[in-house]
Symmetry: C4
Subunit: 273 residues, 4 copies
C-alpha cells in the first residue's frame, strides 16, 4: 500500500477502513460527503495517534512543556501524519481536533503555503499547528515517526547560558538515552552530546530553513534547540521520541543547575571530571 498526496480521499478512506468495524459504514459515508474523513481520528485503540496525541499532551502540560498553548507532538504512521491545531490548550485537545495529512507532500515545508489534508476538525477557526513544516523536517530528513516540540524552560535556559551554536554536555548517564541523529543507535556514556541551537524568528514557520540546514550540518543531532523558544526532538517511534525528549530535557535541566553551582558541564571538552 502506498499513499501519496495525489491520491483521492477515497483511497485513504478505503485503506483506513480496513481497521474499522463494518458498523461504521454509515458514518463513513457521511464523512466522505463532507469532504473529511473523520474515521481517521476515531479509534478504540489507546495507541492510535489521534488518541495518543491528546494523552501525551496532557502529560507534557504537567511537565511544563506545552503551557500557554505552546508546543505539542506530531505522529507519523505509515503515510499519514497526525497533528494538533495551532493556538489551542494542548492539555485539552480531543481526538476530534486532530488534523491528518498525507505523507509525503513537499508543499508542507514551504512556510505559509496551502497544505493537503485528509481530515480537518469541523470546529471553525482551527488551523494546523504552526510547527507543521518543522515536524516535516524530522519526517523528511530523519525518517522520524514522531516529533515533539516543547517550550520547556530548561531548554530555553540552556539556549541562554550556551551562547554559541551548540549546547554540549558529557559524562551523564542520561546521554545513553539519546540516539544518533535521533533515530539511529543510542549514544555511549563516553560520547559528548551536542545539540545545535538556531536563532528564533518572529514566525514559527520561518524556522523551517534554518532547522533544515542545521540538521544537515549536524547529521548526528537528535534535536534542535531554538534560542529563547524551545526544542524540537524526533525519534524512530513515538515512544523513542518521548524518551529522547525526556532525556534531553533532563540534560538541559541538570546542565543549567551545574552552571548555577559553578560545575563543569562538559568535562570531555572543558576538563574538570
Amino acid at each position: 500500500m502506498s499513499l501519496s498526496r495525489q491520491g483521492s480521499n477515497a483511497q485513504y478512506t478505503r485503506v483506513d477502513a480496513q481497521h474499522h468495524d463494518d458498523d461504521d459504514d454509515e458514518y463513513e459515508n457521511e464523512a466522505r460527503t463532507e469532504g473529511t474523513v473523520d474515521e481517521l481520528v476515531e479509534s478504540d485503540d489507546p495507541e492510535h495517534p489521534a488518541n495518543l496525541i491528546p494523552e501525551l499532551c496532557r502529560g507534557f502540560y504537567t511537565l511544563g512543556w506545552v503551557t500557554g498553548t505552546g508546543g505539542g507532538i506530531s505522529i507519523k504512521k505509515g503515510n499519514l501524519v497526525y497533528l494538533a491545531p495551532s493556538g489551542v490548550q494542548k492539555e485539552r485537545i480531543l481526538p476530534s481536533h486532530i488534523f491528518v495529512l498525507p505523507y509525503p507532500q513537499p508543499s508542507v515545508v514551504k512556510a505559509h503555503t496551502e497544505r493537503t489534508f485528509l481530515r480537518k476538525p469541523k470546529q471553525e477557526g482551527l488551523k494546523e499547528s504552526a510547527c507543521t513544516p518543522l515536524f516535516w523536517n524530522a519526517f523528511d530528513l530523519r525518517s522520524a515517526a514522531a516529533c515533539i516540540h516543547t517550550h520547556s524552560q530548561h531548554a530555553v535556559m540552556a539556549t541562554l547560558l550556551w551562547k554559541g551554536e551548540t549546547f554540549e554536555i558529557s559524562h551523564q548517564e542520561m546521554i545513553k538515552g539519546i540516539r544518533l541523529g535521533g533515530t539511529g543507535k543510542t549514544l555511549s556514556y563516553l560520547d559528548t552530546l551536542v545539540v545545535p541551537i538556531i536563532e528564533n524568528t518572529p514566525h514559527e514557520e520561518d524556522l523551517t530553513d534554518s532547522m533544515n540546514e542545521m540538521m544537515k550540518k549536524y547529521p548526528d543531532a537528535a534535536g534542535i534547540l531554538v534560542r529563547r523558544h524551545g526544542l524540537y526532538v524526533w525519534g524512530p517511534t513515538w515512544q523513542g521520541t518521548k524518551t529522547q525528549a525526556e532525556c534531553l530535557d533532563y540534560l538541559f535541566e541538570i546542565g543549567v543547575k551545574m552552571k548555577l553551582m559553578g560545575l563543569s558541564v562538559c568535562p570531555a571538552k572543558e576538563g574538570g571530571l
Copy 2:
C-alpha cells in the same frame, strides 16, 4: 432578592432556563421562592462557568496559583458574572458555591459596598470573593470575558526583583501568547512585554482604583501585577485568559531565573542579546 437595573430576575431566569430540562421545573420554583436562582449554577455542560470555575481552580492549585485560599477566576458570560466565594479552599469549590451577579452594575467597583446578586450559595458565611471589584475592572475597561487572579510565587518574585513601576521582558517566544491590552491581537516576538506593577494595600478591594488607573495609563497592558501579592490577568474568552495567565507566569518565572543567572532579561532595552 434585589435585581439588576437592566432587567428583572425573570429575564435572567428565562434565558438560562432554555438550557435546562423541563424536569428541573420543580426545583426552579423552589429556588425562586428562596430568593436564589440555583439553576444558574446547575448544568451538565462541563464548559458552563459554574462547572469550569471549580475545575480550573483545581488546576490552578496544582500550579501553586491559588494556594491557601488565595486567587481564583471569574467568568463573564453574556450579562452574567460567575465567581467563587472569598476565603475558601479554591481546589475544593463546588458549582453550588458559585455566586452569580448581573452585569453591568456600577456598585461593584466601589469597594466595601453592597452588590446585586442573582444567585448566592445557601451555605452560611460565604461572601463573594474580595477580588470582585478587581475582576470588574477587567470586564469594564477591557470587555474581558474572564479574569484570573494568582498568588503565583513567580509573579511575586518578579515584583520584588523589578522594583519600578513595570516588569519588562523581551525576546522570548512566550511573549507571542500575550494579547495587546489582554483582549486584542497577540504580540509579536519582537515586542517588549510590559506589565505594570501596583503597590499592595491591606484590603484587596482597595486595589480597585490603582488597578483602574494603571489599566488606563497602560492601555496595552495584558495584566496588572500587585507587588508582594500576585497577578490579575484577563482575556477575550476563558481560554484566552488562561493562556495568557500561563504565558505571563512562564515569563515571570524565566525572568526571575535569568536574574539569578545574571542574564539580561530585556535585551530590547538593556542590550545584551
Copy 3:
C-alpha cells in the same frame, strides 16, 4: 453528649452508632468483642475525619510534606481525636489504619506513656503517630480542631537560614491567611509574621515540652518550626489548619528564595521596602 476518657467503650459505641445503619449491628458486636470500635472510622461521609486524613495526606505527599512516612495530620471532632499510625506511607493510609483517642486525656502529653484509645487498627505492629503529644499541645493550648505536621523542605530551609529563635517575614499578601495564635482572627498585611523555632531532639515526643513552652512564650504564634525537621501548625477547623499550613509553607518558600536573591525578607524590621 459528652465524652470523657473515663467513659466505657460501650458509651462511645452507642453515641457513634447513631450515625450508622442498623445493618452494621452484626459487625459492631464483633468489634466490641475485640475491644475496638471500628465504626468510629467507618463512614460514607467524605468529610469524616477517618476519610479526610487519608485524602489530605495524599495531597500533602504531592506537596512534598509527608515524604518518607514523615508528617501527617490529626483531626479533633467533638471529644474524639483521629490520627494516623507512625512510620507508614502517609499517601497510602486507609480509614482502617486510623487511631481514635478520647479527648481530653492528660497522659497523652507525657512522652513515652500509655495512652487511652477508643479504636486501634487491627493490623499488627501499628503504633500511634509519634507526633501525638505534639498534636495534643495544639488541642490543649489553642483549642485547635486539627494539627498538621510537615517535613516540608521550605520549612527546614527556613530554620537553617533563620538561625535565631524565630522566622520573621513582613509585607507579603499571604500573611493575611494566618490567624493570630492559629485559631484567632487573621493577620493584617501590615503585621509581621513571627514563627518560633525550637531545636530538634532525637525522639519526636521529646519536643513536647519545648513546643509547649514556646507556644506559651509566643501566644500569637500560629505554628512552631522545628529546626532541621519541619513544622507544626493548627487551626480552628481542618480547613483553617490546611489553609494556614499552605500559607506558612508559601511564606517559608518565598522567604528562602528572597534570601537567595539577596532581598530583604522582613522590611518591617530590616527596612528595605
Copy 4:
C-alpha cells in the same frame, strides 16, 4: 525453558498456583506449553509484585526518578524476583511486561551472562533490566526484599558536589528514616548518614563489582550512589525500600540546596551547627 538449579519449574508453578483460582487452570496449561508461566504475573491483589511494580513506577515517574526509561524497582518475594524490562517507559509498564527470575542464582551477578527465567514477557524485543545484577547485589549482600534505582537529579547533583567517595549529611530529621545497612534498625537523629559513591561505567552491568565491593566496604550503607548517574537503594520490604528512597532523595535535595546557600551540610564533621 531453562530452570533454576534449585528446583523444577513445576515447583515454582505449584507454589504460585496456591494463590490462584481453579478457573485459571486452562490458561496455566497453555502458558506452560509456551514455556512461560504467565500466572506468575497475574493477580487481583494490588500488592502482588507484578501489580506493584507498574504502580510504583508511575509514582516514581512523577517524582522525576525514572524519566527517559531510566531507573525502576525490583521486588523479591520468597524465591521469586520480579523486575521490569530494559529501555521501556517505566510509567507505562504493565504486569504482562514483568520478568520473573528464580532466586538464588549466581549467574545473575556476572555481567553479560545468560540468566534463568521463570517468566518472560511475550512481547518481542523485551530484555530484562540492565540493573538486574545490581538489584541482585542488594538481595545477596543485604537480604533485601526490594531494590529501587533512580536517576533523580538530586542524587546526581549530590555526586557532583560531593567529589569524594561519600555523600555525608548530619542533623536532619529525615536521617531517622534510613536503616543501618538498608535493612537493619533505623538511624538516630544524632547519626551521620554516609552514602558511598561509585564511579559510573559505560555499561550498567559493569557497575556490579564496584557496587558489590563498596557494599562490603561500607556495611552500614543503606544505598549506593553512582556518580553522574543515580542511586541504588534497598530495604527489608518494598515499603521500607520506598521509604528509604524518599528519605535519601530528600536528603540529597536539601544537601544540594544547603550547598547553594553556603550552609554546612554535615555539621557533625564540619562544625557549624
